[in-house]
């Protein structure tokens, strides 16, 4: 794997092989914490940091670790980065850390991270591995963000509420009230809403892909030149 195309890594991470919409990995945090934008963004960033860090480390040690012990080694590395992230969040965004709760330590069990370590980082050199980690994390985070935004707007009628938990007091007035004060559509915030909206997002991605494919095929199919002869004998093969 010498000819790594960064364009391909980008495309894979953000769209073609998106961890949340295509591989359907890491669904537990995806469904559990995306009740608002700030939660989604917090967890998305944490996952991105862990992914990039673990991919880089796994890539560095890929020639030293034997096949037999590689999974425990990867998990140890991922756990280390998760613990670091957890401590960082505890230090700088304590309230958000409390809201996300168990889902920060649970980043260890996010299959995306182990999956990327196994499928990409253990076979590539460090720079592409970091790029892959960052872009996969960005793809995952983007889906979290979209899902969080939709659920926050539908469920509680606000957007960007409580952003000061992540960006400090300056962000306290970013909150937008989309619907009236008394608005609330609880099902969007509860787990069923998460499943439904994730399903609709996946359907939307598939629809966009199908439409793009149709367009590509239409461009590819060039009109046949020359005279066409109507077959009068023989069988159609």
């Amino acid at each position: 794997m010498s000819d790594i195309s960064y364009r391909e890594i980008t495309r894979n991470g953000l769209w073609d092989n998106n961890p949340a919409l295509v591989q359907l990995l890491g669904l537990c945090p995806l469904l559990a914490v995306t009740g608002s934008v700030v939660n989604a963004l917090g967890l998305g960033l944490a996952t991105l940091v862990v992914l990039a860090g673990s991919n880089a480390t796994v890539s560095l040690i890929r020639h030293r670790v034997t096949d037999a012990v590689r999974i425990p080694a990867f998990v140890m590395i991922i756990a280390t980065f998760t613990t670091c992230t957890e401590m960082l969040m505890k230090a700088y965004t304590y309230e958000l850390y409390q809201i996300l709760g168990i889902f920060i330590p649970l980043i260890v069990t996010n299959c995306t991270i182990l999956g990327r370590a196994e499928a990409f980082a253990s076979k590539n050199s460090i720079v592409p591995a970091i790029a892959d980690g960052v872009l996969m994390g960005a793809g995952f985070g983007a889906v979290l963000l979209v899902l969080g935004a939709i659920r926050e707007v539908l469920g509680s009628g606000t957007l960007f509420a409580n952003m000061d938990l992540l960006f400090g007091p300056a962000a306290a007035d970013w909150s937008l009230q989309i619907f009236g004060e008394g608005y609330g559509f609880l099902v969007a915030i509860l787990p069923p809403g998460a499943f439904l909206i994730t399903g609709l997002l996946i359907a939307m991605k598939n629809a966009i892909d199908a439409r793009a494919k149709l367009k590509r095929d239409a461009l590819k199919a060039k009109p046949v030149k020359g005279a066409k002869r109507v077959r009068t004998t023989g069988s159609v093969q």
Binding site: G184, F185, L186, P192, L196
Partner: protein, 364 residues
């Protein structure tokens, strides 16, 4: 003489989808009359709003799916969903609650799963449950029955009901609402059943299952019997459901202590029991297919209804029980395949595995 070659099926059902649905609509009339008699205009308004929403949603989705619009509107299935939602919702609930529930039922629970005949979950119940968990306050404010209102007070008339539903004026529904019999029974902790029945306003005027409610349930029971007589569905699922519900209530009733879960009459004639037994559990699409399957399906629904009512957080349980059993219906079908004509034994779900084992045993 040339023999005509006709392919199967050789027997035709006399009933088309449209006729079945129209019979269903007709059968809801006694229950609807009882609801309107005791709780005012609310249910009729609910049904009107739900019907309009359902027809609009059905037409637009069918058009979007490039199917014949008139053909699908014509079979009345959307109307049945709408009427069931309208009957299940509390009277005088705000209009947008009805619209959201019906739209969810038709668009997401019915058409996203493939439309008429393909939905794994009963659309009306999905709509109801979405509303119940989304708008708990609106969904648990039932008006009180006319017969237990204080002297000189009457339920709002048609004009006032419309004002409440469409929230034109500040007319509040609060003056007319109370916890339902099942709900008040659930929170009657510390009282003997006899004491509670003597004190609670619902039971002073309605000994069986709360004033008004018992008549509503008897109305739906009458409608259900009419449908049975018309052979719209078989007796298996409703009878099984009501039987297990009775048995469960009877087994868990200790004669009226403060911790008892209520006598069987309360469970049979209160809440949505009869509506569920004859109009929801009998849904041909989302329930089990064979007669044995329907017996199992109905029986388990009855048990679940009692379990959720007695030990769950919600006062009524028909919608949750039905949705849970909808999950199980394909599984029940898998193990209750009837004997095929011409075969000696029923085909079991595991038959292929057994047969292959026997074959290998013979070879050995």
């Amino acid at each position: 003489m040339a023999l005509q070659r006709i392919t199967s099926p050789h027997m035709h059902a006399a009933q088309t989808t449209q006729r079945v649905m129209q019979l269903l609509l007709l059968a809801t009339v006694p229950g609807l009359i009882a609801l309107s008699w005791h709780f005012g205009w609310g249910s009729l308004i609910n049904i009107a709003i739900a019907s309009v929403t359902a027809l609009v949603c059905e037409a637009s989705i069918v058009a979007l799916r490039k199917r014949p619009v008139w053909f699908y509107l014509h079979d009345c299935s959307a109307l049945v969903t709408a009427v069931l939602i309208g009957l299940a919702l509390p009277p005088l609930v705000p209009w947008w609650v009805v619209v959201v529930g019906t739209a969810f039922a038709i668009i997401i629970a019915k058409h996203l799963y493939g439309g008429m005949g393909y939905n794994p979950f009963n659309p009306a119940m999905v709509g109801y449950v979405v509303l119940l968990i989304s708008f708990p306050i609106e969904m648990t404010t039932w008006p009180v029955a006319q017969s237990i209102l204080p002297e000189g007070k009457v339920l709002p008339g048609l004009g006032e009901s419309l004002q409440i539903v469409f929230q034109f004026s500040g007319t509040a529904i609060d003056g007319y609402t109370a916890a339902t019999p099942l709900d008040s029974f659930k929170h009657s902790s510390g009282l003997l059943v006899e004491q509670f029945y003597d004190q609670n306003v619902w039971f002073v005027n309605g000994r069986w299952a709360g004033a008004g409610w018992e008549w509503v349930n008897l109305g739906f029971f009458a409608g259900g019997c009419f449908l049975l007589y018309q052979r719209v569905f078989t007796w298996h699922a409703p009878v099984a459901m009501l039987t297990t519900l009775t048995i469960m209530a009877w087994l868990n009733y200790d004669g009226g202590s403060s911790g008892s879960h209520g006598p069987a009459t309360l469970h049979l004639l209160s809440g949505a029991t009869m509506l569920g037994a004859f109009f929801i559990v009998t849904d041909p699409v989302t329930s089990a297919v064979s007669n044995r399957g329907r017996l199992i399906y109905g029986a388990l629904t009855g048990i679940l209804i009692f379990v959720i009512r007695a030990w769950g957080n919600y006062p009524d349980a028909v919608a949750f029980a039905v949705l849970l059993m909808n999950f199980a219906a394909p599984f029940i079908d898998y193990y209750t395949l009837p004997r095929t004509y011409g075969h000696d034994k029923r085909n079991r779900g595991t038959a292929t595995l057994d047969a292959s084992k026997q074959d290998t045993a013979k070879k050995d």
